[in-house]
Amino acid sequence: MWLNLLSSNTQWVLLSTMVLGIAAGTMGCLVYWKRQNLMSDALSHASLPGVVIAFLLIGEKNLFYLIIGAAISALIGAYLIQWITTSSRISEDTAMGIVLAVFYGFGIMLLTVANRSVGGNQSGLDSFIYGQAAAMVKSDVITMVVLAILVILVVVVGFKEWKVYLFDQAFASGLGLSLKTMNILYTAIFVMTIVIGIQAVGVILMSAMLIIPAVSARYWTKSFKQMIFLSAIFGGMAGMVGTLISTIGNGLPTGSFIVIVAASFFIISLVMGKEKGLLIQYIQFKSQQKAYLASSISSEKEVQSK
């Protein structure tokens, strides 16, 4: 196998971005039907200050602690978005825009400070902006894979509950499902998916891992279960192939290649997809048109022959 040619560290990294892609593809379907695609962008940007603060506090680049920092920072961002939306006249998308820009700007400022301090540019924190999977070591990989599997399990085990929660919250509540618990769980796995991906994919592009596989899967199926399954496959493949290209290219930013691979799946789905793909819609339209014209011509002939 040609995979054997790659170093064992690369194999680990490939495994981790694949599992990350599966988790993000799975979670992305929940986010898609909660209509919160933009939220994933806001939260991933909002996680940056937490990464840098965690680094400044512990003084080393240990992914586990940086993830905790990122999660706290993203949760504060999520809370702020909710608070701004409910307590002022500002709409949610505006609140997300504010939080995204302010947190990201603050994060970049802190990053400059961190880069000038002890450890300097060697910190490797820059990789959190565009993503650098090759910079990951085995302990990082283990942290990421364990948390990603946790996300997948939460979605799979509660599949029926997520479905009714996403389709009809009022009815779900009437059935006795606690919306409060579901909301907390949703935010928890949402933030977890984002923060485990920021080292490999970067805060700028992480949202694409949630959005693109889910929307691509939508073009192939009529069932929510299949949508999640396909989205997970698209996400996993994008993660793996993107990392592979980035590794072969010797340290090219991983995030951008993962996104490009995911985007190519999307374009194929948009054109070829069997549910409302552009091509199938065109073919259906043409065949309908042909049938209609044929029938109207034959009925005209009937009229004439009479």
Binding site: D168, S173, G174, L175, K222, F224
Partner: protein
Amino acid sequence: MTNSIIKVEGLAVAYQKNTVLSDVNFEVKPGSLTGIVGPNGAGKSTLIKTMLGLHPALSGSVYFFGSPLSKVKSRIGYVPQRGSVDWDFPTDALDIVTMGLYGQIGWLKRPTRLHKEQAFNALKKMGMEDYAHKQISQLSGGQQQRVFLARALVQDADLYFMDEPLAGVDAATERAIMAILKELIADGKTVMVVHHDLQTVANYFDHVLLLNHTVIKHGETSKVFTKENIVQTYGGNMRWMGDE
């Protein structure tokens, strides 16, 4: 009235700055079919949602079967407004009806073939068996409403709340839904329906609750649903059906 199935006392509700409902008091008899009637913005949907804990109350209390909501949730069925959900969601009619059984199936457990059969029978009851495996996005408004009704039926609740089930549906669906409501009442269930069509109130409901930010009148339709009370509910310049 000691044998009331619903008891609402001093209920008040606000949306941001506006008080939508205040000093709402009423009791509902078991086995009754009540229409909640009032002008747009009178707080009809809000009343139901607040009673079911979907919207916080400023004050007041609501009892079902003599208990607070949390203890009797499984005995209450709710049919939300059709427009409150996203019908683009990728699933079929049978799957939506099966949701009504989730409480019985138990959390984190999967529905069995038996549950699917139960759901199918409910669809059949609503004349929707041919659409069981149809995408919900491809159903007409009336068909979607029937799916919602079927989902409520499988819950096998004792008390049902329905928010405008007859809004924007075709005549056949309206007849089908009314037949089911009468059947539910015949089975000893109690139903409260938010309704907008004054013309049909007298035919459809044995009780009526006239609402405009508070209860204007409540009681048997034959006694309460009078021109005088309706004018009081809708305001003076409302054209009564007979005047048109």
